[in-house]
Symmetry: C2
Subunit: 568 residues, 2 copies
Amino acid sequence: MASLEQYLNSTEKGKSLFEGEIRKLKTPVCKVFLKAGKITPVDFKASGLAVKSKDALKVKEKFPHLIVKNGDKILIAAAKKTKEKIKNKRVAVLFSGGPAAGGHNVVAGIFDILGADNTLFGIKAGPKGLIKGDLFEIKPEDIKRIKNTGGFDYLGSDRTKIKTPEQFEAVKKTCRDNKLDALVVVGGDDSNTNAAFLAEYLAEHIKEDGSGVQVLGVPKTIDGDLQIGKNLPISFGFDTATKVFAEMVGNILQDTPSSRKYWHFIKLMGRAASHVALEVALQTKPAVALISEEIAEKNMSLNQIIENIARVVIERARNGKNYGVVVVPEGIIEFIPEMTKMLKELNKAVAEHENELENKDLAEKRDILSSALAADNMTLFSSLPEYIQEMMLFDRDAHGNLQVSQIPTERLLIDMVKKHIKKEAPEVKFATLNHFFGYEGRCGVPSLFDAAYTYNLGLAAGALALAGKTGYMASFTGLNQGGKILAIPLAALLNVEVRHGKDEMVIEKALVELDSPAFKYFIKNRERWAKEDLFNSPGPRQLWGPSANQMPITVALNQGYKGLEFKI
Amino acid sequence: MASLEQYLNSTEKGKSLFEGEIRKLKTPVCKVFLKAGKITPVDFKASGLAVKSKDALKVKEKFPHLIVKNGDKILIAAAKKTKEKIKNKRVAVLFSGGPAAGGHNVVAGIFDILGADNTLFGIKAGPKGLIKGDLFEIKPEDIKRIKNTGGFDYLGSDRTKIKTPEQFEAVKKTCRDNKLDALVVVGGDDSNTNAAFLAEYLAEHIKEDGSGVQVLGVPKTIDGDLQIGKNLPISFGFDTATKVFAEMVGNILQDTPSSRKYWHFIKLMGRAASHVALEVALQTKPAVALISEEIAEKNMSLNQIIENIARVVIERARNGKNYGVVVVPEGIIEFIPEMTKMLKELNKAVAEHENELENKDLAEKRDILSSALAADNMTLFSSLPEYIQEMMLFDRDAHGNLQVSQIPTERLLIDMVKKHIKKEAPEVKFATLNHFFGYEGRCGVPSLFDAAYTYNLGLAAGALALAGKTGYMASFTGLNQGGKILAIPLAALLNVEVRHGKDEMVIEKALVELDSPAFKYFIKNRERWAKEDLFNSPGPRQLWGPSANQMPITVALNQGYKGLEFKI
């Protein structure tokens, strides 16, 4: 017995058999980085590809250095022509925003390509650490420990946005104090927007010789909303998160015809865009999957959504199937046009009638609001379950706005579908359960796809640092045939968007495009999936064995690949 | 593109790459079943082991046939002495109760050992199907399709308890109509209790020759509460469910020091016993894991539980760790002695004051109850969050009893810990999220352990049928060294328990024993796990590769094995 207890104690702190073995897994390296089997820096040259911003002129004004330097041209990595060795570069890396699987491999990739002649620093706890100057030198033994592991815990992360002049100044100080040559920002659309501004700010006169500090971005987010067509297939972490969620959804799907009892409504994290919901739907084929972008595009009402779900429930019941799964994207509420319209008016009305509304019960509040809301808005509001009405009147942030993300959409849908079925087909049994998957998918061990994707993104970011480039985001494409490393000019990605009432330059969130191959495949097949049990239970992601090398289905479809296997 | 779409269509309905490959996995076979590499029936002989019932005399009265025939002796499988071939046996198998991973392999095991000379029938939708006589013949192509897959969907299941004389009569008719020789019941403690009664009822005079129909049990349940010391290490499905849950808990643990923000309270399915919570705690080492049996044994109050959690939260905060995970077993409420006592009195009081309580608000209701409840009960009741008080007064079943399983324990704990911290250490940040994992763990693809365990349990059940045995449950022990197949006499497992106010003979639910090696290991180490981040993220269960052959940690500890690897 003693020996088993000792063994168990020895596996504490990330040293279980599984965790030990994944650290030993070899991650494939894009051949452009390999010279005689060794990881080697590369050159970046014109690729013939470019980025299109609809606000190019405005951007040019704000980004004189970057736009002059980089323009809108995408670069491609190529084997190094010269033998010159770059030495004594000091590079720092930080994580920004919510964690995503594979972050540690980005660090490992940068570290490995910098090699022993250069130094990599880790910035603790995200942009906040950059402002504070909280850095430490990364050592080879750290890389051995974090390789292929999930989480952002090695560095930590936070959501600080570097916006004020004082913050920019503090970053400059950190760069100078630590004699940094380059910064790598690992983050989503907002963080890469921030990286663009930093790159511009730090473009010159930072170091003693008058030169600047390079800033490079790495595309991260489980939401998948940082992708740029053929030039950036996907953000890292998306594959792992969707595989975690798809296993759970698949397990529940397998449960439905086993216990023949429940409809499960499953909400999936993913912010505004429905990439996660679409990918999980393609992997598992549930009876219903809602896609926010389609709802917005087709101007669907809440009632139409409810009717559509109810129709599937009733049809399946008539075929003896009193069970099924409905996949719901996190951000759906804000994509129902009538809902957005109603909430806008409601926010105004609540602010205007604040005093009157106080200490009234719900029926009285509705009376007060009925004079303040347009008839259609009032009808919609009154059609919602009462606890949602209460919530919409109470749960407000500091600006008096409803916290839409707090609305339990999956319960809202369940209750409204239940009501509809009770009226339309009272004989239909409709027992339900609801789930929300999100945090489970951010820090799992990276899938082999994410492990390889992130390691190569790290190599790319490190190579850009060594090549003296600034204002680029690393990208990795051609994943079905060896891979190509691209560098996308960050400033050229910016567009003007109205946020909080003012114009801001941002990298737009990529939404699901209704004419994309992945979405078109989904709508072509979903009616069959609604009727029959054609689901898949794709199982836990495998790090070994015959099914380990799969990429996301949406990526394979949208990139026009012929199969699901990645080949690097 | 066309070709990828065609490939995707071809993988619908359980034919993804992963699902295809797992069907091809070879499941190891206990060598007692192998003769020249072929699966072969076995003899069952005395093992020297026996079962102890504290109510042996009462059981003997109710089970004259079974007790005379089987007594309390456990049998062991041994290579067959004679060459005689058993032919034309007609065996039927059913699933009973909630699904658990590996059920399909039980069917495959029975099918394979019966061979082409005998016939296996599947009973549809559980005991209800047995009553209705809803059977079909199982074919080799079915077995190929279901091998190693999760779920109970091949047969379906239900929770019908066969209790009334009419139901027993109907089962007899099904046996006669279909000329059955044996029934295999795959189920938990209740279903195996039912199997014992069926075995007794069908012991003789069923078939034309005056003989009976054999009834055999197979121990299933993700809850792990059907286990009998060294004679039955665990019920099947436990390993898969706990591995699914441990991955989720591990992913969330990995998230905590990454985002440094949240305490996650995670409730785990598992009914009354805390086997699931204990196993997941040993696999992941969270800051806190509650074990219901310890709470009951130590007569802990709700307040003590809250204080213990708050103490860990506060200590960790003082060490810069404003995050952590608390694992909560599903059945905890009913194990808090003061809570059970209060609820008992509350149930009575609510029934007695039904009319007075109607249409009152909560404060008024508390006034009414304060005269009906003992002071300590009233204090406890009033200390609960108001939504829980409301729930305890409203959510009642047909008998007027509170539906304890409906109480959102994880939220109750969060709210009470929050209140406590606000008072004791208001400076401590305590942001929380809650989760419930259950349905995700019942129908996932079986772990290699469960795949092998269930296939061999199926071989054992089939072998018992061929050997003419009745009233036994199949068991598989010695999992660290090739394995031994046992047959445990079902009637001898019964004890008298008071259920719904009357004496009933049942197989007792196995609870976590506080003197078991697994629990002792847990308490020896948990204080360290509370203080530091020593957690594991054990990852998704692997079907291939170096970590695929792990058994549950609690099983390995409690069976006294030297390692975690199973060797069959």
